[in-house]
């Protein structure tokens, strides 16, 4: 039993982190503040590095690590919040591969085919062989497919079968948001929920991203509390500030611990993997949203500006909270699950 990152996993984390930092810094546009088309070159490079198929078996064309490594990658995404359909790409590459569409899987995994996440706006509009209902579409601008993942099953729909998108400005300035209504659209691929645990995997990756956000805002707030001076001393000497940072540290620790516990539960086929995934999402949502709130407060007037990153972490957390269900749905699911092993 060991919940620490191995040296190899540590290596994955730092490679991902430094590449994201470079890419975000090198871009001429501030991609986290402006809705921009996905940089296809960058996306293909991430694909080449195996970022969208880390946890997919080698036999299915993936890198052959587990969900733990994917969670490590998504935590880094949460720490730096780059734009792009990371979740939809990872889940749809797996879905296509498991559904026997290896060419499509390979193309998504390579970052050549873009997939957007479509989130049902109510439980009746759900995945099936034929799909109807109203959906929120995330990062659908150049997508060739959209992915729908629900507790009952997952589907891929070709973008040309979607009908018209109604773009909406998203609370997170880096996210392309649109609504789309489907009536009887045929799925290019549909798999009912089962041993794939696709929904649970997605839930854990969302939780991992939120855990990354919680760590980023903890670090941001703590750093600021050390250097910002008022009344002749750093603001962090005041307990009102210090204790808030301590609470952020507790929330972030709980989120990361539970995310990795859940990810390993899936990798090892534990019977309570769904329970652990659900718990991960709940604690990580709390950690990100409460941490993001505290971070804005600790930055004072600066925290309220668009220029300060604090608002971006808050906004991304809200977007994440609306994908693959939300915290309320997760609470209602968790109460009905059998207890943890």
């Amino acid at each position: 039993m060991d919940l620490l990152l191995s040296d190899e996993q540590q290596e994955i984390a730092s490679t991902v982190a430094s590449l994201l930092t470079d890419d975000l810094g090198n871009d001429t546009i501030d991609v986290r503040r402006t809705p921009t088309p996905i940089n296809r070159e960058t996306w293909a490079r991430y694909g080449e590095l195996g970022w969208f198929s880390l946890g997919l078996d080698e036999g299915l064309g993936g890198v052959g690590y587990g969900l733990a490594e994917e969670a490590i990658l998504f935590r880094e995404i949460g720490r730096q919040i780059p734009p792009g359909p990371f979740l939809a790409s990872t889940l749809s590459a797996r879905l296509a591969a498991l559904g026997g569409q290896s060419q499509l899987a390979g193309s998504i995994a390579a970052g050549r085919t873009l997939v957007a996440l479509a989130e049902p706006r109510n439980p009746d509009s759900a995945a099936g062989a034929s799909i109807s209902g109203s959906f929120d579409l995330f990062d659908g601008q150049d997508a060739e497919y959209v992915l729908i993942v629900t507790p009952r099953g997952a589907a891929l729909v070709a973008a040309e079968d979607l009908g018209s998108l109604q773009p909406t400005a998203c609370i997170d300035p880096s996210v392309h948001l649109a609504t789309v209504d489907l009536s009887g659209a045929g799925a290019a691929l549909y798999r009912p929920a089962g041993d794939d645990l696709l929904f649970e995997r997605g839930t854990i990756l969302i939780a991992a991203t939120l855990a990354g956000v919680a760590e980023a805002v903890r670090d941001m707030a703590t750093e600021y509390a050390k250097v910002r001076e008022q009344f002749g001393r750093p603001i962090g000497v005041n307990q009102a500030v210090k204790h808030r940072c301590a609470d952020m540290a507790i929330l972030a620790e709980a989120a990361a611990a539970q995310v990795f516990f859940a990810a390993v539960s899936v990798d090892e086929g534990r019977g309570d993997a769904a329970f652990q995934a659900s718990a991960a999402r709940i604690v990580a949502t709390d950690a990100a949203l409460e941490g993001a709130r505290a971070n804005i407060q600790i930055h004072g007037g600066m925290g309220y500006t668009f220029e300060c990153d604090a608002n971006l972490f808050l906004k991304r957390s809200h977007v994440l909270d609306r994908q693959l269900g939300d915290k309320y749905a997760e609470l209602d699911r968790l109460i009905d699950l059998p207890q943890a092993i």
Binding site: M1, L3, A225, A254, L331
Partner: protein, 390 residues
């Protein structure tokens, strides 16, 4: 990263489970203090007979010498078997014993350690004073050297089991001239020494768990000093970090069980609206789910800190993170039990399982005060984990 227990740990789990099934005492008395103390001591004796006493103590001192993972297994299995804790023997097993092992003389060790393990003696902790709680180092109970004895005069307070204990970990000021952390001495206090008077204090939960202890020139031989004279602060700190290490594991396992029991009961017990089962109330249902998630995360945090401990050695200041999270959660669980009980929540002294929750709820208020308050834990996290300026 993995959640697999080694073959050795798995067979240890099997062994412990079978042993507990056959030997663990059942039906801990709820409100009868005397019976509770007997129950705890009896349990300690059973552990000794079974070779499990002092699960974390090194084998050379008669302990089990279990690895961190096996300690986890032990506490998980105890929790599963319904063993509530080792309240009465807590200080001896988790403070005094480890302190003697770390800093005691050979005579002190060979005299006291076996007694603690066998459940022959109860220890208490005489640290806090009326004027020195969070600021423990400011303590002023005086110890004056007189020949080969220390004469102690002053007062301790909140001494848990002070009225039951034969020995105490006693911190006294032997030098008031320097800084407050220097000049403290850690002594093994014999509670039967003349000049000691113990008065129990009733708690808000209706227990009389802790006491005031008065010292009027109570005399202790200098051979009862543990570590060096005036170096008691350092001697004491080694036990406090121990307290925040593995010692809380059992409480965490127990808390997870309470949450599951609570969910079961909420499915049938009439809730606050007097009509439907409590769980039919969306707010109660979601709070229950939330605590389920939070308890799961607490366990994951424990696993994480055991992983750190196994890799880097002794538990670090991160222990404060788990302790804070635990105290907060146990209070929320207690409060939730009250909501689930609905109209029955006011029934205090009943002996039914349900109503023991009312008392547990009241007891949960101690979790954020004893062993260092939550505010002090937040200071520790801010200063030592995050490196914020003081």
């Amino acid at each position: 990263m993995d959640l697999q227990f080694s073959v050795a740990d798995l067979s240890f789990r099997e062994e412990v489970r079978t042993w507990l099934e056959e030997n663990a005492p059942k039906d801990r008395p709820q409100n009868d203090r005397k019976a509770l103390t007997e129950y705890d001591i009896n349990w300690q004796k059973i552990q000794w007979a079974g070779g499990y006493a002092g699960i974390s103590w090194p084998a050379e001192y008669g302990g089990r010498g279990a690895s961190l993972t096996q300690q986890l297994v032990w506490f998980e299995e105890c929790g599963r078997a319904g063993i509530p804790g080792i309240d009465t023997c807590f200080v001896g097993i988790n403070h005094a014993g480890p302190t003697l092992i770390a800093s005691g003389t050979d005579e002190q060790k060979s005299f006291h350690l076996p007694k603690i393990l066998r459940g022959d003696v109860i220890w208490c902790q005489g640290f806090s004073e009326p004027g020195s709680g969070s600021d423990l180092a400011s303590l002023s109970t005086r110890g004056i050297i007189d020949g080969d004895e220390l004469a102690v005069t002053g007062q301790k307070i909140w001494t848990s089991f002070g009225d039951k204990a034969q020995y105490q970990e006693l911190l006294v000021r032997t030098d008031a001239s320097g800084s407050k952390h220097k000049g403290i001495t850690w002594i093994i206090g014999d509670m039967s020494a003349p000049g000691i008077e113990v008065r129990p204090i009733e708690t808000m939960a209706g227990d009389a768990d802790f006491c005031e202890v008065f010292y009027d020139e109570a005399r202790f031989p200098l051979t009862s000093v543990v570590g060096r004279l005036n170096d008691g602060w350092n001697v004491a700190m080694s036990t406090l970090s121990f307290e925040r290490g593995t010692a809380f594991m059992l409480s965490q396992v127990a808390l997870a069980q309470v949450v599951e029991e609570l969910i079961d009961v909420a499915r049938t017990h009439t809730g606050p609206d007097g009509r439907r089962p409590a769980i039919a109330d969306d707010e109660i249902s979601r709070h229950l789910a939330q605590t389920r998630a939070d308890v799961a995360a607490l366990r994951a945090m424990t696993y994480l800190s055991i992983s750190r401990g196994a890799k880097y050695g002794t538990p670090g200041p991160e222990g404060s993170i788990s302790k804070l999270r635990y105290s907060d959660l146990s209070q929320r669980v207690g409060r939730l039990a009250i909501d689930v009980l609905g109209h029955d929540a006011l029934n205090f002294r009943s002996r039914s399982q349900l109503h023991s929750w009312v008392q547990e709820y009241l007891r949960s208020y101690a979790a954020s005060i004893g062993g260092g308050t939550s505010e002090i834990q937040r200071n520790i996290i801010g200063d030592r984990v995050l490196g914020l300026p003081r």
